[in-house]
């Protein structure tokens, strides 16, 4: 890895009205060695960023449907175009919902099957380690990152689910208990090109010792989420 090159990688983090986790996402980018650039929902200019994170929260209060109004924000028009051109885009939780509403990813998220908000340290199986955001993991690896949502149940029709499975586009599956009732235990998916990834759990909350989930190293010592951000930096420099 070239430290000098990585330091220049610019990762945009979008703030919509109601976004909550933009600061955490920006911190994760910096801890991975990138430069975090704040992007504003009403500004169509991507300010020359090399990749974009759509963080979690409740954009536009989740009115209409989770992520539905964000899809029409000026910044999203630019992101949809840039994603089609291959720019890496990561949608976390509400960001995942925005990506499905923007049709960058298939399916949709509905209320958890048990009807409760759920907040826990979630174990995921990495199914696809070839995307721009997962290349620092290995297929079959288990990672622990926080999960917190109410509308986290991933749904899609059977044909779409079969396609996702056949094309290796299921990126993460829940290990053990399925916390949302998601179809086929799916926690995250990617587009056909592998540059757009969305998932419900929050990697940006597991990037620094002292502030993450429990791990073998001790309470709050888990940093399994950092790999998302180092992955994209590596993908950008072609390392």
């Amino acid at each position: 890895m070239s430290g000098a090159t990585l330091a220049t990688a610019r990762i945009g983090v979008v703030t919509f009205p109601g976004t909550l986790d933009d600061r955490d996402a920006a911190r994760a980018v910096r801890l991975a060695g990138g430069e975090a650039v704040s992007l504003w929902h009403a500004d169509a200019d991507l300010h020359g960023v090399d990749a974009v994170v759509l963080p979690g929260g409740f954009s536009y209060g989740d009115y209409l449907r989770a992520g539905a109004i964000s899809r029409f924000a000026p910044v999203m028009e630019s992101i949809v175009d840039a994603a089609a051109g291959g720019m890496p885009v990561l949608g976390i939780c509400n960001g995942f919902q925005v990506l499905t509403e923007a049709h960058l990813l298939p399916g949709s998220m509905v209320k958890n099957d048990h009807l409760h908000f759920v907040c826990r340290e979630q174990v995921l199986v990495v199914e696809n380690a070839d995307t721009a955001w997962t290349r620092d993991y290995t297929a079959g690896q288990r990672i622990t990152i926080p999960l917190k949502n109410q509308d986290g149940q991933f749904v899609a029709d059977e044909r779409t689910l079969d396609e996702l499975e056949a094309e290796g586009r299921v990126v993460f599956r829940y290990d053990g208990w399925n916390p949302n009732g998601s179809r086929r235990g799916i926690a995250g998916i990617t587009n056909a090109a592998g540059n757009v990834v969305g998932l419900m759990p929050h990697p940006e909350h597991a990037v620094e010792v002292g502030f993450g989930p429990a791990s073998d190293a001790g309470p709050r010592a888990g940093t399994d989420g950092l790999g998302f951000f180092t992955s994209v930096l590596g993908a950008l420099v072609g390392a």
Partner: protein, 95 residues
Amino acid sequence: MGRVVVEVMPKPEILDPQGKAVVGALPRLGFTQFTSVRQGKRFELEVDGPVTPEVLAAAEEAAVKVLSNPVIEDVVRVADIEADAAATITSEGLA
């Protein structure tokens, strides 16, 4: 001024937690005859002037593109609200 009503319902196979909560509450209030409740959304779109076929077509497009998500919801009705007496009684009879 014309008004178009658009009604959207969750698809039958999608869990509808609001409907589920309501159907659970009904028997507790003595309404024991209802076995299922599904809760949808009703939108009222206003236009200057009458509801023309073009206005209705635009409402249908908006219903599919914005007001519903075809993965989880069905648009079950797009109609000129004034043409529906029952609908006007509901919205204006209470005013």
